[in-house]
Symmetry: C2
């Protein structure tokens, strides 16, 4: 074991040295990747399939807090966030480009950790890192990733195809990432006040993992294909269920009834929300970062999905003039609004 | 005219409002763009051509200084930098994605300026903006752009194909962007010391424009096709001629002789370099940001390019064991090294 952890300054490698160092273990996994890192551009050949492109930027102090997010997890999550968008098109991610701006407070070892997390995510989803840019920043860490995927045009699912009568479905469960974040922030506050107290995260692995190590739902597009269900519209849940339903409804020009009692919430999420005096439904509606897939399917496909443990039917599509409503457990109907995190945090 | 220039806070629109506002005038120009902004991902169909992808990040305080770079120029340049990489593959750029992180000191109007510059660049190169991400940053402005292009596989030119005996060529002229930057920085210092003095930029439009409004060499790939010349290797000049020659030589596993007296330098660049007590050759070698194309061609194509005003033959490829050398005006040979800006700035 090392007595002191090693630290290599970024400046000792220089930009090209750093890129070479970080990308040396990249092994290309996809036949479509003709040329990866090392030229002016990457070259990709999909042989007649359509290309799908998505991009996301993560900013220190806005999207993550390095006092409780390990760099490896951050790298992993930053890739997952992008892959999730590709799955939400019912497509398969194949390549990513990675741009990173960082201040000198980061060492080469820190960047290796970040890249290790990215490469682990890519490994799991058989995705190639084909390019990127590495630059300095005055303060903080910024990660910008672009994901590229492929699909047959007939398989692609847009946000615009939901029809009146369709069923509204969601994969997995919701609210966990947000409640996990509350827990991490509470333990950070305690740690800052009394540094000797160890964080109390025991028994909460699931919600912590939902926040720190989300998994893009790679399994859902092939599952739907196997069930012979083609969604009419699909979106991934990054900003919270309410916000995403409103996007789908607006872009498909439809209304929607969402049933509170159908929203899937894990018991760990439910209990921890209660501990924070938060309404578990509100956490699911506005928490975000769950990276589950929200989609609509034709009503006649009801039997194909109803018993599937990975999918919950949570509502149905109505006429646009009926608006987007939450049908509460008590049976009353209230218009759904997108609050986002700010509203949640300022609720008291 | 407005008595006070208007300022709309970014927070008044929110993220989705801002995206909608900035992207409302985007008109898709390419048949290959199936779906642009507005879904989880963009969809692109190249019908059998190969896809080329490149990404670059520009950071305030590192790559640009907003005290002398107007936001519209910055938007324009940030797109050009990326398109240049696509042309350097001998490919045609077709789409870009744009991610921007900015602090609250920027207004909606400022972002409109930035986007106006980006859209102007896209208009000029017939490129579609198909997606992106907009987020807040604690301090400063960061722009991350990914460019996507297409090419027939037989037309693509990599950095790896230069052969012994090939001629080394470059488009346009070099060093102007660096000297232009020196001039802008001098005027900034004078302005900071005596704010009433107007900047003295007269008669230096060319070098100022080389720095603030570079043009990616869209014309070179079709020109070469017309001349029936296929480069054996190509790279764009972002970090300076010396650095790019070293990249080409390393990646093609060859050596190179570069002739100082053949390096194309505009008279305005030459004179201003002298005014700053800088060696014009060093400005061309290490200045960077010229976004010209550096390429190698077979010796038998000499007659096809020799009289072309857009192309200078500046050297030839040698065996790798001979190394990469600068043949000075005096006739002596010295190994070429990549110094970059830092070395230039610290030369005194």
């Amino acid at each position: 074991m090392l007595e002191n952890s090693e630290r290599t300054e970024l400046s000792s490698l220089g930009e090209f040295g750093l890129i070479k160092h970080l990308t040396q273990f990249i092994e290309l996994k996809n036949e479509s990747t003709i040329k990866g890192v090392g030229d002016d551009a990457a070259v990709i050949d999909y042989k007649g399939k359509q290309t799908v492109i998505s991009t996301d930027m993560l900013v220190e102090g806005v999207h993550f807090d390095l006092t409780y997010v390990p760099l490896k997890h951050l790298g992993y999550k930053s890739v997952m966030v992008n892959l999730s968008d590709i799955y939400a098109m019912n497509a398969t991610p194949k390549q990513i480009t990675v741009s990173v701006a960082m201040s000198n407070r980061f060492s080469v070892e820190a960047m290796e950790e970040l890249y290790a997390g990215m490469m682990l995510a890519c490994e799991k989803h058989k995705v190639d890192i084909v390019g990127g840019d590495t630059t300095t920043n005055k303060a903080g860490l910024i990660i910008s990733i672009t994901a590229i995927g492929e699909a047959n045009s007939e398989d692609l699912v847009y946000r615009t195809g939901a029809k009146e009568g369709d069923l509204l479905c969601v994969s997995g469960d919701l609210g966990g990432a947000y409640v996990g974040l509350q827990l991490l922030e509470r333990e950070k506050r305690i740690f800052l006040e009394t540094p000797n107290v160890q964080p109390d995260l025991e028994g909460n692995d699931y919600i912590i993992e939902r926040q720190l190590k989300p998994e893009a739902r790679k399994d859902i597009p092939p599952l739907l294909k196997e069930l012979e269900v083609k969604p009419t519209a699909m979106i991934d849940i990054s900003d919270g269920l309410a916000s995403e339903i409103l996007h789908l409804a607006t872009q498909s020009n439809v209304g929607c009834n969402l049933y509170e009692d159908k929203i899937p919430i894990d018991p760990q999420t439910y209990n921890m929300a209660r501990e924070f005096n938060l309404d578990p439904t509100v956490c699911a509606l506005s928490g975000g970062e769950d990276y589950e897939l929200l989609f609509t399917i034709p009503q006649e496909d009801f039997l194909k999905v109803k018993a599937n443990p990975n999918i919950s039917i949570i509502g149905h599509i109505t006429n646009s003039k009926d608006g987007v409503n939450l049908i509460t457990k008590g049976g009353s109907s209230t218009p759904l609004t997108a609050q986002g995190w700010d509203a949640l945090l300022n609720k008291d």
